[in-house]
């Protein structure tokens, strides 16, 4: 959670500076009760919001990133991976598994921004592809929650190819007539938005989430002008016809199960 805490019990909202207690935030779906700001949350919190308690069964945890390019920027990719794993207690930037949503069994993948910005390298691509293939073969409806800056540069061209791989797996899923709900959270950009995230039968976004192909900074540099307020936010995308709906965290679970019922 991107919340500042002195002792783990209370936090300060970085948007309105209100002092908030931990349970106060949890009860309010990780939204500031004072100003309505959405705190950035990880896979565990999304699972808590979406899944029936105790129904999650993780999958593909043994699939890990390698270092195909022996890449280093300011530090070695291998070292960065190890440190990130330790810091986040995640093995990769996506958590996959099965769970129930109001008793409906689904296949679920949740990208976690805390792990290298939720970026997609070979392991994320492979886990998601396996998840989609499992959903297709077991006829399990699929839900993917995205939070990602895009492809993971540290794995070069292999990261780019994960876009084609996951999109191809989704073609199989479509052929089997298994529904797929894509949930976009803040932010969803680059190679993730331009592959599985925008291929949902239904695309739901959280309020205010930044969603787009190019990042706002790159656009500003290219067109040499300041972007209008609200550009690339969920509300903007809804207006432009790019997503189906904006749903608050409080309503997310019910909307997901209602949408699934339409197609099942």
């Amino acid at each position: 959670m991107s919340l500042k805490s002195e002792n783990g019990l209370w936090f300060k909202c970085f948007s309105c500076n209100e002092i908030l207690y931990k349970n106060q935030i949890e009860e309010n779906f990780y939204i500031c009760p004072k100003c309505g700001n959405y705190f950035r949350i990880g896979w565990k919190e999304y699972l808590k919001i979406l899944a029936d308690e105790g129904t999650f069964r993780p999958l593909f945890e043994n699939i890990r990133s390698d270092d195909p390019l022996e890449f280093r920027d300011v530090k070695k990719y291998k070292k960065r991976l190890k440190e990130t794993q330790k810091k986040t207690s995640l093995t990769e930037a996506v958590k996959c598994g099965t769970c129930s949503v109001n008793l409906q069994r689904i296949a679920i993948g949740i990208l976690d921004f805390a792990f290298m910005g939720g970026s997609m390298g070979s392991a994320v691509g492979e886990r998601l592809t396996l998840l989609i293939e499992k959903a297709a073969n077991s006829k399990l409806p699929l839900v993917i929650v995205s939070a990602s800056g895009g492809a993971r540069m540290h794995e070069g061209i292999y990261s780019l190819m994960q876009m084609a791989k996951t999109a191809g797996a989704l073609a199989l899923l479509a052929k089997k007539r298994v529904p797929y709900i894509s949930i976009l959270t803040n932010p969803t950009t680059g190679g993730v938005s331009a592959s599985f995230a925008f291929l949902g039968d239904v695309i739901i976004s959280e309020p205010r989430a930044l969603i787009g192909f190019a990042g706002p900074r790159v656009i500003e540099q290219t067109i040499r002008q300041k972007l209008p307020e609200g550009f690339q936010r969920a509300e903007f995308l809804l207006e432009k016809g790019q997503i189906d709906m904006i749903v608050t965290r409080r309503n997310l679970k019910d909307v997901v199960s209602r949408v699934l019922k339409i197609f099942l």
Binding site: D66, S159, L160, A164, K165, I211
Partner: protein
């Protein structure tokens, strides 16, 4: 143009210029001409037998490098251009149509950078908006309907990062191409002829057979972008180019492309016609090979399914 040539080519250009001047009086300067020509050959050999990755990046973007419209003219006959995505506009960064490669009928789709300044602006330097990807997909579906193989040419810095592009769903347009190309039941053969810029390139390159000109590049991000984000210093592009493994030789080794198409010594720009002949031969061979295997969409998925490198933890 010469001013825009990459730095490492400049000694060669200087020598060439001197030889040209001397050749105005060939009788008088014969000895010197022979010597300089030999010197030129040696220097060229020295540079081009060990190009650095960043030098290849510069060749891929070379101002004189043949572009898609050159190959379109030199490889295909009876080309008829089809315009528009049927929704919004005709994106001139992509040229689509149908033509023949010798006796083989095919759909031809490619990214066009343009040559003159006005052309470059009209073509948006080969950077598509969503309507470009949608036009390309429309033509592919049309080709599939009439059982015609699809030939694509990749040469783009990337999908255009602009306000209109975002408003009209750049991400969705690319994503849709990736999924729909995977299901296409006709052969798709792709040549990366210059710059293969990230998702913008991949959106017309989910293919059965992918070949790359020797000095073309294909990457998840430009070396400049990578340098400024990861190395926090845009001037380290040369280092980033090496780290990203974006040359044709790297990509063949990584199993992402099927073949390297050789370039005339010194780069495609020194002999565009010969380059086109070589490319044409390879494309024809690739179509035959893909048709021989059949099962176009299944083989295509299996090809991409294998891409990437992971570890299995205990």
């Amino acid at each position: 143009m010469e001013k825009l040539s990459p730095e490492f080519e400049k000694p060669l250009l200087k020598l060439e210029k001197r030889i040209k001047t001397l050749e105005l009086e060939p009788e008088k300067n014969r000895k010197q001409i022979v010597a300089l020509k030999e010197k030129l050959r040696k220097i060229r050999k020295k540079i081009f037998t060990r190009l650095t990755p960043y030098q290849r990046v510069q060749l891929a973007r070379h101002p004189l490098r043949p572009i898609y419209s050159d190959y379109l003219k030199l490889i295909f006959s009876d080309f008829t251009e089809f315009h528009g995505d049927r929704y919004f506009a005709d994106d001139e960064a992509v040229i689509c149509g149908f033509g023949k490669i010798d006796e083989i009928k095919c759909a031809v789709i490619g990214q066009e950078k343009g040559k003159t300044t006005s052309e470059k602006l009209r073509r948006n330097f080969g950077m598509s908006h969503p309507e470009g990807y949608r036009k390309a997909l429309r033509i592919m579906k049309l080709a599939e309907k009439f059982r015609i193989p699809v030939i694509t040419f990749v040469d783009t810095p990337g999908a255009y990062p602009g306000i209109g592009a975002e408003e009209r769903g750049q991400a969705a347009a690319i994503a849709n191409n990736l999924r729909e190309m995977m299901t296409l039941e006709v052969p798709i053969v792709t040549s990366v002829i210059g710059e293969g810029g990230s998702g913008g390139a991949l959106a017309i390159a989910v293919s059965n057979y992918i070949m790359m000109l020797a000095n073309a590049i294909y990457s998840v991000i430009s070396p400049e972008g990578c340098a400024s984000i990861l190395f926090r210093d845009a001037s380290r592009a040369s280092e980033a180019a090496a780290a990203l493994k974006l040359t044709s030789y790297d990509l063949l080794r990584l199993g992402v492309i099927d073949e390297i198409v050789s370039e005339p010594f010194g780069g495609a720009h020194l002999a565009p016609k010969r380059q086109a002949e070589i490319l044409k031969k390879n494309i024809k061979k690739a179509i035959a090979e893909v048709e021989e295997k059949g099962n176009y969409s299944r083989n295509r998925y299996e090809k991409f399914r294998k891409m990437g490198k992971i570890k299995i933890a205990k």
